[in-house]
């Protein structure tokens, strides 16, 4: 085996990059047997770093420290069953691994050759051991996430070994900016940040501008609640974003980029900073990249907790150091963006697609997907599905496949009710449309949007009127207040939906909601307001009967809407008086050791009794 360290330095040109890759591929480190431990945000929260340490010391104890190495990887996907460990040599997938399980895995499996059955993931009672055979993985098509779970995101060498920066090298040494733009156009790649604007077209606009100074920005604000795709790429494969940005910068003629990462993602910031520093050390960022005379620098700017800053003009205003309020467009950022210079802004996942499509060529890339939307899309599958986590499928894959084949169906044993797609700008897809292909056009037809990829599955225990209220509250909080239709219109819409949830609604409220929605959609300044009514409109469209029940029957079938709930104490009550003591309005009556009752007229439906009762004697309906 060779000494790779002599290759680990500033890379002067494409030939040196190739030499480095070849050296890495032959190196002992690359070829050693590996135990992969997921170091995605979810698994870290579940304790995967302690599991990793346990592996290192256990392997040393058993004298395997030399033969086997432990690798921290980016998000493997099924966050709900973490910490996850994958054994490299036979692709065994272990879930919910605890520190005390490590000894077993090392001694029984790695030394004894026997899989540890109780840590496997059960699929309909059968235990499947191989990761590639699990339905969760088998039904996916990991392209953008190709490296997540295979490389250590904190090591640039890992990225280079699997072909990283090869696309950059190809672009800088064999293509013109114009050709790059063309290739991206041919690929049919559309922006993954929500609106689905063709990336090639956007780059083309900025390229045309004659200005000396241009900027390229990466939108890593990922504000949609229920979305964590970008987080996982930032944490699991940060170099793919950097490589995409450098290629973009070359295409449009920019030499300075910024990545705007939201404040809530400290680990993403940390890993991205490590990646940027390493790329700089290797000469892949900085002056005269790969000896081609192309210069580019990249900096991180952190967000400060404002959802609207994900909107492109607000993001730009925020980088400039101001309140993150959107500006009217035109002028579009491609003409007048950051510090009034031509600017391209793309989403994290969009940039991550770039090296892929350059390497395989735009035409090949366009093989996947639907007629109008190419490639793959990452979704953050969450809510009441059995395996929630990060999944990637070809654009146009039916929703049903995500929920049932990949996600394993509904976790609660209840029935599927809806999938919320596209966050606060999106909508709810009911059961009768489970076969809708996940692409921009088909989802729009149903009143939802593809959005950035948040996909929350809800079962029958979710109240759809309450879901509409939830999103209105979200956008009301996050509206920057600059324009009146958004600031005032959303408040008015929320008042109406509040009324309905409280059982005080009237049928004419529904018409007023729809009328208000129209005004807010058409008159708001930015995308936040323009799409804010969508959750209301889509629930009104697909779940109108629930609104009507709230209004005319004063009933919430899911017992979510507080004012319409009735609390009742069942016969199992043993009179312990715990509920009676916590009831803030003394609505619970009964003698010690005797069955208690709730006075409905006095009850304020705070639910304290329910959460206090240790005997499950209180129900709500």
């Amino acid at each position: 085996m060779m000494d790779i360290n002599k290759h680990m330095h500033f890379v002067k040109n494409s030939a040196e990059l190739d030499a480095l890759r070849n050296a890495l591929l032959k190196s002992k480190e690359y070829n050693s047997e590996k135990v992969f431990v997921c170091a995605g945000g979810g698994c870290i929260a579940s304790g995967s770093m302690k599991v990793k340490d346990a592996f290192i010391s256990q392997l040393a104890t058993n004298g395997l420290g030399e033969k086997l190495s432990v690798m921290e990887t980016g998000c493997l996907g099924p966050c709900a069953v973490g910490p996850i460990v994958v054994i490299g040599k036979d692709d065994t997938f272990y879930q919910k691994v605890r520190v005390q399980d490590v000894k077993d895995i090392v001694e029984k499996h790695l030394m004894g050759g026997k899989v540890v059955e109780n840590l496997l993931h059960p699929v309909e009672e059968i235990k499947v051991s191989k990761k590639s055979e699990l339905p969760f993985f088998k039904n996916q098509d990991k392209q953008v996430l190709r490296n997540c779970g295979k490389i250590d995101p904190t090591k640039i060498a890992d990225y280079i070994a699997v072909g990283g920066y090869q696309a950059l090298s190809k672009v800088l040494s064999t293509m013109t900016g114009e050709q790059v733009v063309q290739e991206v156009s041919i690929s049919g790649l559309r922006g993954r940040g929500g609106a689905g604007f063709p990336t090639g077209t956007k780059w083309g606009f900025a390229r045309k501008s004659q200005d000396e100074t241009k900027y390229i920005l990466c939108n890593a604000d990922e504000g949609d609640p229920g979305a964590f795709m970008d987080r996982s790429i930032l944490e699991g494969d940060p170099h793919s974003i950097i490589e995409g940005m450098i290629i973009g910068a070359f295409a449009i003629g920019s030499s300075q980029g910024y990545v705007y990462v939201r404040a809530e993602y400290p680990l993403a910031v940390e890993r991205l900073q490590i990646a940027i520093d390493q790329a700089r050390t290797f000469g892949l960022i900085g002056p005269n990249i790969l000896g081609t005379g192309f210069n580019f620098d990249l900096e991180i700017r952190k967000g400060s907790g404002a959802f609207v800053c994900g909107e492109e003009t607000a993001l730009i205003t925020s980088i400039e150091g101001n309140r993150g309020e959107p500006r009217p467009r035109p002028p579009f950022p491609a003409v007048k963006g950051l510090w009034n210079k031509p600017t391209v802004l793309n989403n994290v996942e969009t940039f991550s697609n770039i090296p892929l499509l350059i390497n395989e060529g735009g035409a090949q890339y366009a093989e996947k997907g639907t007629e109008k939307s190419k490639g793959t899309k990452i979704f953050a599958l969450a809510g009441t599905v059995k395996i929630s986590g990060l999944v990637e499928v070809a654009v146009g894959t039916p929703l049903r496949k995500l929920v049932y084949d990949i996600g394993g169906g509904i976790s609660s044993g209840k029935k599927y009710k809806a999938a919320q797609i596209g966050g606060p700008s999106g909508g709810c897809i009911p059961a009768e449309h489970l076969d809708v292909p996940l692409d921009y056009e088909a989802l729009n037809k149903l009143g939802a949007i593809m959005g950035s990829g948040g996909l929350i599955v809800m079962d029958e225990s979710s109240c759809m009127v309450d879901v509409a209220r939830f999103f209105l509250e979200f956008v009301q909080d996050e509206s920057c207040g600059k324009c009146v239709p958004c600031r005032e219109g959303i408040v008015r819409m929320k008042q109406i939906v509040d009324r309905i949830c409280d059982g005080k609604g009237e049928m004419k409220d529904l018409d007023e909601l729809e009328a208000l929605a129209k005004t807010v959609t058409h008159a708001s300044l930015c995308g936040l307001g323009q799409t804010a009514p969508n959750p209301v409109l889509s629930t009104l469209r697909h779940f109108r009967e629930e609104y009507i029940e709230h209004i005319s029957d004063k009933k919430c079938r899911t017992a979510v809407c507080k004012e319409l709930i009735v609390f009742k104490i069942l016969d199992v009550c043993n009179g312990c008086q715990a509920c009676k003591k916590v009831c803030p309005v003394h609505a619970i009556h009964g003698e010690k050791k005797l069955h208690h009752t709730i006075d409905e007229a006095e009850c304020i439906r705070c639910g304290l009794c329910l959460s206090t009762c240790k005997f499950d004697a209180i129900v709500k309906y």
């Binding site: 609640p225 959802f307 150091g321 809510g383 939830f470």
Partner: protein
């Protein structure tokens, strides 16, 4: 955190102000420096004190109203000192449909405070967040940088207890 109630600029904060000056100098000639400087201030003090606002305004040559305007726009900045532990309940969609509201209710009850308030012992501040990107583990709460996953209303007491205990053990430890 600060000992004197009247002047928010306690002895230890004097040292921090000097540290802040160095930070401002290091950002001085960068475009768009205001927000990174405020972020540094927030993590240095745990909030943005009046003295820091004056200093930033003067040194970066930004009008006071602008500095103030930026601080109040972003939820990450706080004009009031926060407790040692900032508890943020995720009210993002995934957490919401998995019962986040009930966790919030339980926390309010346990701590006897409302959203945005700090307990009298200055240990906990209660706040809400809109998705921390850990939706696969919903419902979650964050206590400073720790993620607590699959939280149940009945488990809240235990989580708080662990931090109270930690505080008792590390009486002298300060950030």
């Amino acid at each position: 955190m600060s000992k004197g109630e009247k002047c928010s600029c306690g002895d230890d904060e004097k040292g921090l102000l000097e540290r802040l000056e160095e930070i401002i100098v290091s950002f001085k000639n960068k475009p768009g420096a205001l927000i990174p400087v405020l972020q540094a201030t927030q993590s240095l003090f745990g909030y943005v004190p009046q003295e820091a606002i004056l200093k930033i305004s003067e040194m970066l040559n930004e009008p006071l109203h602008k500095v103030h305007g930026v601080i109040t726009f972003y939820s990450f900045f706080s004009l009031k000192p926060r407790g040692k532990y900032l508890i943020r309940v995720c009210l993002g969609t995934a957490c919401y449909v998995q019962g986040a509201n009930e966790i919030l209710t339980a926390l309010k009850q346990q701590l006897s405070i409302e959203i945005g308030e700090t307990t009298t012992d200055k240990l906990f501040t209660l706040d809400v967040g809109r998705c921390f990107g850990a939706c696969g583990l919903a419902p979650i709460i964050m206590v400073n940088d720790d993620v607590h996953q699959f939280v149940k209303p009945s488990g809240v007491k235990k989580i708080l207890g662990a931090y109270k205990k930690h505080k008792a053990v590390n009486q002298e430890e300060e950030t």
